[in-house]
Point group: C2
Chain length 204, copies 2
């Protein structure tokens, strides 16, 4: 539900309308489920607004998030056929990024992550998407596979009206500082505490 | 990413497979964004699994979440036309529940919330959906519009294989106790702190 009025109006020379429509850098972090699912929920809104969506999954396994992937690919096809919604591109590390020639080959994960980030930086410069979902992108930052300062500077200086949502644990402080919105998903209770393993349709 | 092994294996007489596939009662609570968006992200997985989805929004405004609503209605139509995914029903309070004859009339919110819950209880008994999204349903509980003990007992004793996710702040303790999974969305940083109001495509 609407959350009411902002607590302070900044002296930034912007009108409320300009400030309202400022593109956002969002971060979903914390140890608990919901980081990626909330990012994909947000992408539903972007789809409805007609903003071209680019999903970049910095994970190895193809099994996880296949539900979201299939649903968004269906929404992307629907757009291509009827014009409803927005185009959707879905790229994932692991089998080789889909724009790369190195598909299907054995990969060095650090090199693949860096290659993914370089592509995202090019797309940001070209204003290619309205919403970027950089799923689990905190890990390449945390592990030093990509340069955090360079990532933050590129995101901060991105042109036009491009929203970005980044998910994952261990978010670097510089990213938290740069983000407009940071949500931590925290655990109150998890089925694994009661001995339950992940299940199809719920965990992926 | 997969979270590894459960910390303890319960003495409940179930096999791992039975336990793995146990239908879940999930709760997304806390003061921050992401509760509903994560629930709708979860619904994407259910759609991909072919589980019939029932969304019940216990809110007044039609503006908020229209992005998710449009995207899920598109996914529901896609299912109806091609058989892909799962059927989607989307019901909301405010203009009158869509199954009710009282559509478009002025409503007593407490009565409408109770009417919504009664319908959900009937559907649970009939095993009508694979996933129920009871969006902002904590508020009718918190405000005493529905009986928390009755809700918890009905959810706990629901037959078959029906997943339920409930969103909203002020979750009653009895609901937390009954839930298999409880996530709190907590604030680290919000754009309204910097004087920014909600914006289209992000907040709805």
């Amino acid at each position: 539900m609407p959350q009411g009025k902002p607590v302070a109006v900044p002296q930034d020379g912007l009108t409320t309308r300009q400030r309202r429509n400022r593109p956002l850098l969002m971060l979903h972090t914390g140890e608990m489920k919901g980081k990626s699912t909330a990012a994909f929920g947000l992408a539903l809104r972007a789809w409805n607004q007609g903003w071209p969506i680019g999903v970049f999954q910095f994970v190895k396994s193809a099994k996880w998030k296949v539900g979201e992937e299939n649903a968004f690919k269906a929404l992307g096809r629907l757009h291509d056929e009827t014009g409803e919604g927005a185009p959707v591109e879905w790229h994932k590390m692991g089998e080789g990024w889909s724009w790369s020639r190195k598909q299907g080959t054995e990969e060095d994960h650090a090199a693949a992550a860096l290659e993914g980030w370089r592509e995202i930086a090019r797309r940001l410069a070209a204003e290619q998407h309205g919403l970027y979902v950089l799923d689990e992108f905190t890990y390449p930052m945390h592990w030093g596979w990509v340069d955090v300062e360079e990532v933050v500077a590129t995101l901060r200086d991105r042109p036009g009206h491009q929203h970005v949502v980044i998910t994952g644990r261990h978010a670097p402080q510089a990213l938290i500082d740069a983000a407009d919105l940071v949500v931590a998903m925290t655990k109150v209770k998890h089925p694994m505490d009661a001995g339950q393993k992940g299940q199809r349709g719920i965990e992926w």
